[in-house]
C-alpha cells in the first residue's frame, strides 16, 4: 500500500518540482534588467543579420575552420597541418563550395555566389549521390590544423545535432552555436560594467558597445574560434575584476583557472591570458592578504586547472598528430633569429612615424595602427574584402586617438582614485599589453619568413573589446551628467550606423 502510494505520488511530485523550477526560472528571468534584455535582443538581431548576409564559408578562414570541425566530428581527430591525404577539405565540402560558387567568391570582389534554383537543385542531387565517406576525407593539409580543439569540439556537437544532415544545414547549425557564444559576451560586458560603475546607464552603454560592434557580430556569425576566445577573455576579465574587488573564493579562483585553461585550449593567441592571470593572482594577494595556507591552496587550485588544460592539450596532440601544443601562429619561435632592436623598431613604426635613425620596418611599410586597431577592428568584413569607406575610417581613427588621450588625461587628473583602485586598471592594462605583445611577436616572426604577411588582423583585438567598451564608458562617465547623456546617445547612434553600414556594404558586395 505504502509502496503504491509512493509510486502514485511521484509523478505529482515531479510535476510539482518542474513547475516550481519553471517558476524559479521565470522569476530569475524577470530579474534581468530590461535594458540588458533589450541589448541581448539587439545582439540576436545583429548576429542573425550577419549570418543571413554573409554567404557560407565567407567569414575569415571559415572554410578551413569548418573543415577542421567536420573532420573532428566525423573521425574524432583533427586534420593534419602539413601531411594528410592532400585534401584540405572533405569531398562533400569541396563539391558544396563549387556548386554554390563559394570557392571563387572568397575575397574576390567581382565574384558572386550561386543563387539560381538550377544550381541549388543540382547540388541537392550531387549531395544525395555522395558516399558517406565524402564528409570524412578532409585529412589535410589544413592551415588551421594547429589550433587547439576546444572550439571545434563544441562545433562538432551542433554538426551532429543539425536536422536533416545536409552540409548546409550542418554549416548553419554551427554558425548558430557560434552566435550563441557571441551573445554571451553582452551580459558579460554588463557584469563587468556592474563591477566598475554604479550607474545603470554605464552598464547599458558598455553592453551596447559590445552588442553593436559590427566586426564582433560578423565574426560571431561565422565559424571561427576567435569568437570563443573573445568570449572567454570577456568572462575572464569579469571574474578577474570581481576577484580583485571582492576577494578570492574557491569559486572565483576555479573560474579564473578554468577560463585561462579554456583560452589555452581555444587558440594559440589564448596563451596571452597567462600574463593577466599572473597579475590577478599577485594583485589579489597584495590587496586581500589571505593567510599563507589559503593563498597556496587558492593558487594551487587555479594554476592546477590551467596545468590540467595544458596537459589535456598535449595529450590531444600526442594522440592525434603528435605535434606540439600549438603550431602555426605561435609555434616555431626558435627557428628564426630574434633581433630585439629590429623588433622594437617594428613595434614603434607600427604605431608611430619612423624616426630618422631607424631602418625601415620589417614587412609591409604601410601596415600599422590604422589598419588593425581602426580599419580591422571595426571593419574589413567577410574575408577582409568588404571595407568601410576611407572617411569613416578617418573619423574612427580620430575617435580612437581621442579616447586614448582622454583616458591618459583622466588617469592623471584622478590619480588619487587610480592609486586607490590601482589593481583593476593595472589588470586591464596588462591583459591588453599581454595580447598585443604576443600578437606583435607572432607578427614579427612571421614577417621574418614572409615579409608581405604581417599576420595581425583587427579581429585579433576582439578579446579586448570589453576593455575598449569600459574605456569609452570611463571617459563618458567623467563628463557632467547631461554631457554624458548626449555622449552616450551619440555613441549608440554611431554604433548603430556602423552596424547598418557593415551589413549594407556586405549585402551589396554579395548580392547586388
Amino acid at each position: 500500500m505504502t509502496g503504491g502510494a509512493v509510486r502514485g505520488s511521484r509523478p505529482r511530485a515531479t510535476v510539482g518540482q518542474a513547475t516550481a523550477a519553471a517558476r524559479g526560472w521565470v522569476a530569475r528571468a524577470r530579474r534581468i534588467p530590461r535594458p540588458l534584455t533589450a541589448l541581448i535582443l539587439v545582439g540576436a538581431i545583429h548576429v542573425a543579420a550577419w549570418m543571413a548576409v554573409t554567404p557560407a564559408f565567407q567569414g575569415p578562414d571559415e572554410a578551413a575552420h569548418f573543415a577542421y570541425a567536420q573532420q573532428l566530428a566525423e573521425t574524432g581527430g583533427p586534420p593534419e597541418k602539413e601531411a594528410g591525404n592532400g585534401l584540405n577539405r572533405s569531398t562533400e565540402q569541396i563539391q558544396a563550395m563549387e556548386w554554390a560558387g563559394l570557392h571563387s567568391l572568397i575575397g574576390v570582389i567581382g565574384a558572386r555566389p550561386a543563387w539560381s534554383d538550377a544550381e541549388e537543385r543540382s547540388w541537392e542531387k550531387a549531395e544525395a549521390a555522395l558516399p558517406p565517406e565524402a564528409s570524412a576525407d578532409g585529412e589535410g593539409p589544413n592551415a588551421v590544423a594547429g589550433n587547439p580543439p576546444l572550439y571545434y569540439a563544441y562545433e562538432a556537437v551542433s554538426y551532429h545535432a543539425a536536422p536533416g544532415g545536409s552540409l548546409f544545414a550542418r554549416f548553419h547549425a554551427m554558425r548558430i552555436t557560434s552566435a550563441l557564444i557571441y551573445l554571451a559576451m553582452i551580459p558579460l560586458a554588463w557584469l563587468i560594467a556592474a563591477e566598475l560603475f554604479t550607474s545603470l546607464w554605464a552598464r547599458s552603454l558598455t553592453a551596447a558597445i559590445v552588442a553593436l560592434q559590427p566586426k564582433l557580430a560578423s565574426l560571431g556569425a561565422s565559424i571561427n574560434p576567435d569568437v570563443l576566445l573573445a568570449t572567454v577573455w570577456t568572462a575572464f576579465i569579469y571574474v578577474a575584476i570581481r576577484t580583485l574587488r571582492r576577494g578570492p573564493t574557491n569559486g572565483r579562483l576555479a573560474a579564473l583557472g578554468l577560463l585561462a585553461a579554456a583560452s589555452l585550449l581555444t587558440h594559440g593567441r589564448g596563451l596571452a591570458i597567462l600574463g593577466p592571470l599572473a597579475a590577478v593572482l599577485v594583485f589579489t594577494y597584495l590587496r586581500h592578504r589571505p593567510g599563507r595556507r589559503a593563498a597556496v591552496r587558492g593558487a594551487g587550485l587555479c594554476l592546477g586547472l590551467v596545468a590540467a588544460g595544458l596537459a589535456a592539450l598535449l595529450v590531444f596532440r600526442a594522440l592525434s598528430s603528435g605535434g606540439g601544443a600549438y603550431s602555426g601562429e605561435v609555434a616555431g619561435f626558435g627557428e628564426q633569429r630574434f633581433d630585439l632592436r629590429q623588433f622594437l623598431s617594428y613595434v614603434w613604426q607600427f604605431y608611430l612615424p619612423k624616426l630618422e635613425f631607424m631602418a625601415p620596418t620589417i614587412g609591409l611599410q604601410d601596415y600599422g595602427f590604422r589598419e588593425t586597431f581602426v580599419r580591422g577592428f571595426f571593419g574589413d568584413y567577410a574575408s577582409l574584402e568588404v571595407t568601410l569607406p576611407r572617411s569613416v575610417v578617418d573619423l574612427l581613427q580620430i575617435g580612437l586617438v581621442f579616447l586614448f588621450v582622454a583616458l591618459y588625461t583622466l588617469a592623471v587628473a584622478r590619480w588619487r582614485t587610480v592609486r586607490q583602485w590601482w589593481d583593476t586598471p593595472a589588470v586591464l592594462l596588462i591583459a591588453g599589453l599581454s595580447m598585443l605583445l604576443l600578437v606583435h611577436l607572432v607578427s614579427y616572426r612571421n614577417m621574418l619568413i614572409t615579409p608581405a604577411d604581417p599576420l595581425f588582423a583587427g579581429r585579433y583585438l576582439l578579446p579586448l573589446v570589453s576593455i575598449f567598451a569600459v574605456g569609452v564608458v570611463t571617459v563618458v562617465a567623467a563628463l557632467p551628467r547631461r554631457g554624458a547623456a548626449v555622449a552616450a546617445g551619440l555613441i549608440v547612434g554611431v554604433e548603430i550606423a556602423l552596424a547598418m553600414s557593415g551589413l549594407g556594404l556586405s549585402l551589396v558586395r554579395f548580392y547586388a
Binding site: 555566389p113 543563387w115 555622449a487 547612434g493 548603430i496 552596424a499
Partner: protein
C-alpha cells in the same frame, strides 16, 4: 527649457541626430543609387594571373553547366587581343528546352568588354555557353587559370578541355538601386540556406534589423538614465 532637456531627452536626441545624419548623408544615397545589376558570375575575372584563351578562325570555346537565370539579359566577356577591328563572334547558349544565339559584329576596338544581349530562359537552368570566332583572324578572350578563382564550370575549345576558364558574367538590363531590387536581393540571400532562412524569414529579419534593432538599442541606453 533646461527642465525639458533631461538626460533621457538628451541621450535620445544624440542618438537620433547621428542616425538622421547617417541616413540622409550616407544610407539613402547609397541604397537609392542606380548600379549595375549583376545576374550571375559563372567565372569571375582573374584575381592575379590573366591567361588568355586564343581562338583561331572558326574555333569556339564552350563552358558547360553555366547557370543562366531568368534575369540574365546580357552576357559579358572580354576580348583581350589588341586590334582596331576585332573579328565577328557568335555567342550561343543551349540547354534542354532552351536555345539562344547572337552575333557580335566585327570591327570593334579591342581590348574591350563585349556585352551581348541574351534572351533569358523563363526559369533558371544549366546551359552550355559558347563563343565562336567567325572572323579570319585569331582572337584572345580573357581567361582565368588560378586556384583562387577556380570555378565549377569546365571550358573546352572545339571539344577539348583547356585549363583556363572563360571569364563570364550576366547582367540585367535595368540598372536598379538596392531599394528597387530589394526583393531580388533577399531572394538571392535565401539560396543554399536551410529552411529556417527562407525568404519570408529574411524579410522578417530585415524588418527587425531596420526597426527593432535601433529602437531596442536606443531604449536600452536612454531608459537607463534617470530624469
Amino acid at each position: 527649457m533646461r527642465r525639458l532637456l533631461t538626460p533621457r531627452v538628451l541621450a535620445l536626441g544624440g542618438a537620433l541626430l547621428v542616425l538622421a545624419v547617417a541616413a540622409l548623408a550616407v544610407f539613402v544615397p547609397y541604397l537609392s543609387r542606380e548600379r549595375e545589376a549583376v545576374a550571375g558570375v559563372p567565372v569571375p575575372s582573374p584575381f592575379a594571373v590573366e591567361e588568355n584563351i586564343r581562338l583561331a578562325p572558326d574555333q569556339e570555346v564552350c563552358l558547360d553547366a553555366v547557370a543562366i537565370d531568368a534575369d540574365s539579359e546580357i552576357a559579358e566577356f572580354t576580348v583581350t587581343s589588341k586590334s582596331k577591328s576585332g573579328p565577328p563572334l557568335s555567342v550561343s547558349a543551349e540547354a534542354p528546352g532552351y536555345r539562344y544565339a547572337a552575333e557580335v559584329d566585327g570591327g570593334y576596338l579591342s581590348p574591350d568588354t563585349i556585352r551581348v544581349p541574351l534572351e533569358p530562359p523563363t526559369r533558371s537552368l544549366l546551359a552550355e555557353f559558347c563563343v565562336a570566332n567567325r572572323g579570319n583572324r585569331k582572337v584572345d578572350l580573357l581567361g582565368a587559370h588560378e586556384a583562387r578563382t577556380a570555378s565549377r564550370v569546365i571550358a573546352r575549345v572545339d571539344g577539348t578541355d583547356i585549363p583556363q576558364d572563360l571569364t563570364l558574367r550576366f547582367l540585367s538590363e535595368d540598372y536598379g538601386s538596392v531599394f528597387a531590387r530589394l526583393d531580388t536581393l533577399v531572394a538571392r540571400m535565401s539560396a543554399f540556406h536551410p529552411l529556417v532562412l527562407e525568404t519570408p524569414v529574411l524579410w522578417l529579419l530585415l524588418a527587425l534589423l531596420v526597426l527593432v534593432l535601433p529602437a531596442a538599442a536606443i531604449y536600452a541606453v536612454v531608459s537607463s538614465f534617470r530624469d
